[in-house]
Amino acid sequence: MNHRAKLLIIDDDPDFVDGIKSILESADYQVDVAYNPKDGFDTLKTRPYDLLLLDIMMGRGAEGVMLARKLRKDPQLREMPVLIITGIREQIAFLFPGQPVHPHLLPVDELVEKPVEPQFLLDRVSSLLQAAEKRKTASR
């Protein structure tokens, strides 16, 4: 990648955010944070990001899912890769029995479970960024 990729984390748990933000920064990503879905959506609207790291259980329930749905409908944001980081893999798996743990919330997403091993996180982020880059070149 020829520029420093910009990532946004939307998660309401500041301690968890600290734990992944430093890992991402140490890999030379530029990382911003929003601590609730509303601020997160506003931030996404004001500045372009290369990747979103999104928590599911925020506020009064699965507000992350609602935000993800909103993103899918947004013509400007729907192409942005989204990495879902959640502690509720079990329930998602049982909402979609027989499928790999993947809620298909967005056309371009991937799901990892909290807590996430640093190297695993970096691998997922970089592969999603590369895939998005490829898509962009292909559609040009």
């Binding site: 734990g19 430093s22 890992i23 079990e90 807590p115």
Partner: protein
């Protein structure tokens, strides 16, 4: 402060309506009346009564019909029949149709008040029971969300920061300190896993896995289960030996949960085995069933504990203190097998070891071959098929 009970009286005789209203004055109720069934039902919808008195013999819609409609509209509304002695048998019929009680005509004010109080009491109990049932359901449904968020989140955040610290401090930490960090991480990992297990046991509707059943190869389930237990067995110096009787038919099932079930049983066998011993996992076909048995020569289970081992929160007392667990493994295993139409049982001789036997209904050849296009890849190891 409780709101006053709402009572509706449906009777074609104005005199009855008036006298009933009068009797209940001072009882702290709100009253409404209707002179026929149609008007009465309209009142039921608008007035939302707790208690409805219905005269059985009315012109137009009969009292019996009114009761049926009220019951269909809201079964928690208590309806009471007012009837003359001549129609005692129809009062019984009305009660069979959902009425709670009856007042024979003529009645004294005291009798009427008594029946009313009983009816109001009944309504309270019905509502309370419904509220409790609802609460229990909501609790059950929300349990997963609450537990995962409230318990897992702080643990996940802690673990995440331990991961980070390990990476950031790797250059300055001594070996001892690194070991200590690793131990912290593994303790938190145990906790996270235990929460996950509880979630599985109490919130997941295991019957749902039936929707995804497909022909599943038993040897493949056994191989995957053993792979998962192997590292633990190696650490304890225990050898896992398999004996799979060929040919073995497939079963209709969900491979993931079947592996989980077997991991629990084989894991237990390893857990309660003595170092240097063997655990035998065997499978064979018998009377239309595939039988998987897991034997160890470990501590065994005392006779008096055998009936309880498949219940929630059972933990082997003979196990050494270091063998931690939630005590849910076998309970989950039993549920998984039952969802597959199978069974699990155990025999044990204390001091000599235990044998767990699981049975699963075998698929017949024709059942196996129908969806074979998809499943054939997995079944290349089976040559013969069922006999």
């Amino acid at each position: 402060m409780e709101s006053p009970s709402k009572i509706l009286i449906i009777d074609d005789e104005e005199v009855v309506l008036d006298s009933c209203t009068l009797i209940l004055e001072g009882e702290g109720c709100t009253m409404a009346t209707a002179t026929n069934g149609v008007l009465g039902l309209k009142q039921v919808e608008e007035f939302h009564p707790d208690l409805v008195f219905v005269d059985l013999k009315m012109p137009g819609m009969s009292g019996m019909e009114v009761i049926q409609h009220v019951h269909a509209y809201d079964p928690s509304i208590v309806s009471i029949v007012i009837t003359g002695y001549a129609t005692l048998s129809s009062a019984v019929e009305a009660m069979q149709k959902g009425a709670y009680d009856f007042v024979p005509k003529p009645f004294t004010p005291e009798e009427f008040r008594l029946v009313t109080r009983r009816g109001v009491e009944r309504r309270k109990l019905v509502l309370e029971a419904a509220a409790l049932r609802r609460e229990r359901e909501v609790l059950r449904e929300n349990f997963a969300a609450i537990v995962s968020h409230e318990l897992k989140s702080p643990l996940a955040a802690t673990q995440q920061n331990l991961f980070l610290l390990t990476a950031e401090l790797s250059a300055v930490l001594t070996e001892d300190q690194k070991t200590r960090l690793d131990r912290l991480k593994s303790r938190i990992d145990d906790l996270l896993k235990m929460i996950q297990t509880w979630l599985r046991a109490f919130t997941v509707d295991i019957q749902k896995i039936k929707e995804g059943f497909r022909p599943t190869s038993v040897p493949s389930v056994i191989t995957k289960a053993i792979e998962s237990v192997q590292p633990f067995a190696q650490r304890k110096d225990i050898e896992i030996v398999t004996a799979i009787g060929a040919p073995l038919s497939s079963v209709s099932g969900d491979e993931g949960t079947l592996v989980e079930a077997l991991v629990n049983v084989v894991g237990n066998a390893v857990k309660y085995s003595f170092a240097g011993s063997q655990v035998l996992v065997s499978a064979r076909h018998q009377d239309g069933h595939v039988m998987i048995s897991v034997s160890d020569s470990g501590a065994g289970i005392p006779r008096e504990e055998l009936p309880f081992i498949f219940g929630d929160f059972y933990r082997g007392r003979t196990g050494q203190a270091e063998e931690a667990g939630a005590g849910l493994g076998l309970a989950i295993t039993r549920r998984i097998l039952e969802a597959h139409g199978g069974t699990i049982s155990a025999e044990s001789t204390p001091g000599k070891g235990s044998t767990f036997v699981m049975t699963l209904p075998a698929l017949r050849m024709d059942e196996e071959t129908r969806p074979a296009q998809e499943a054939s890849l997995q079944r290349t190891t089976q040559v013969g098929g069922a006999t």
